[in-house]
Symmetry: C2
Subunit: 285 residues, 2 copies
């Protein structure tokens, strides 16, 4: 933790339980993607300096590595292909995203969704019956969050005896190369208020979602650190599950995050490259 | 109260304190406009059956009459001209709406707004300095609530040291001739969540707003009944100020309003015509 590292005694006092002291006992790392690996924007966006190399180093270590994103702008296949074009060594099976998790929930509960998601995400829902919708699913839809589309989703919900709204994540905003942009959580809150209901969140910071990643890694929460740029959804969500949560000062990070009233990161680092170096250096000693 | 009127003893038991028994001691009536006088929609919308005549009758009585709207789709002048075209006997000085109230607050506090409102409402803000905005004002903006415009308002707020958001009303939805439509409150909640702040509501159900109408009438709250189609903002807001609140079964009324967990109208009537007849008949006896 950079802030704490300025205090020279920190490593010695906190070495076993704090960050980066805990790195010695780590068995796995979960990485958020947008704002940690890359900044989104026009085209494929841009890789954040040092992050491609950091992923390589972590993969070359004995740590288990997974990627956990609330990305819902495209299918996992297309999303991973974009990351690969940017230079990242990532495969689809390592990436956890909300849409496949939502499909599982819809099928389990026999629900037929009205979808307000990016067109590019629609193929994830190909296997789901969408006739006579009895619930609404929203994902980050950016420009598709028009008044008309929001009103359409609202009318479906308000027409149901028991309206059910699923939100693929609950982020407030994210950073693109041209600035901050409103995320799906904002429109979830809008529809919650319009229909006087509480949405079910699928994705970070849902405990169910994080647990599915831990299950896949075969690890206990205390053996894993989550690294993200979103203090509440990445760091707070991971901590709520018993993991360590480290925030990077890239992506949507804002200095005020370090004075947040309810969530305090186990560590705050300049970027993923620094986080990876700190973890791997600790493990050598 | 129609539900209670089905119980024959009601008038006798509640005649002095309940509705419509209280009509005898009434000195003033405040009418909501959209959903009570008319349904909005293409062009001027349509007058609700019997409402033009009801306004005439109330005006011809010894009751003071005011109109209180969260309407922010046009200036008061244009709005009143529309009502006059529909056949209502209404003048600008009888109508209370949020935009002029907002202008007073902005000037008092030296705030320069970024406006996300209907273009037709902009002239209300002609006298306000809008350079280098240090707050955001949103009104019902319908199709102008595009992702791009919401994001622009968000960026203004998130860039401020102390973000201030004013919302002209906090309605969830209203009814137009082609169905229910999302109202400004929904987008207020969206920006509140995005920026982690609480908006200041100007308009119904704000106590300050209702009090300004009572002041203009020169009446005490217990001498006045508010008639509206919005259970929470019209009826609940008025009751919170000490007035009686009666709901009409027109406009955005939904049967579930009569089972609302926290707000119970003093009376529920089919429409304004029935409310006016009940009030005026009670006063004769």
């Amino acid at each position: 933790m950079l802030r704490a590292c300025a205090v020279n005694t920190y490593h010695f006092v906190m070495a076993d339980s704090g960050w980066p002291g805990c790195a010695k006992s780590l068995k796995g790392v979960i990485l958020d993607m947008c704002g940690v690996l890359y900044d989104s924007g026009e085209g494929d966006g841009v890789a954040i300096q040092g992050s491609i190399e950091a992923v390589k180093k972590l993969k070359a270590s004995d740590l288990k590595l997974r990627f956990c994103t609330n990305e819902t702008q495209a299918t996992r296949e297309k999303f991973v292909a974009k990351l690969q074009r940017l230079g990242f060594d990532i495969s689809v099976s390592e990436v956890f995203s909300p849409a496949p998790a939502a499909v599982a929930v819809l099928k389990e509960r026999g629900l037929r969704p009205h979808l307000l998601v990016y067109d590019a995400l629609l193929p994830e829902f190909d296997s789901v019956d969408k006739s006579k919708p009895n619930c609404v699913v929203i994902g980050d839809a950016s420009e598709k969050f028009s008044y008309q589309n929001l009103n359409e989703a609202f009318r479906v919900l308000i027409g149901l005896e028991k309206p059910v709204l699923f939100s693929l994540g609950q982020g407030r905003y994210y950073k693109e190369t041209d600035g901050l942009k409103l995320d799906v959580g904002v429109f979830m809150k809008a529809l919650e208020y319009a229909c006087d209901l509480e949405a079910e969140v699928i994705g970070k910071p849902s405990r169910t979602f994080f647990q599915s990643v831990l299950n896949d890694m075969g690890l206990q929460p205390h053996e894993v650190v989550m690294i993200g740029d979103d203090l509440v959804n990445d760091v707070g969500g991971a901590q709520h599950c018993g993991m360590k949560g480290v925030q990077v000062r890239t992506g949507k990070y804002r200095p005020s995050d370090e004075r947040h009233p309810t969530v305090t990161a186990d560590g705050t680092v300049d970027n993923l490259a620094q986080a990876a170096d700190m973890i791997l250096n600790q493990r050598k000693h």
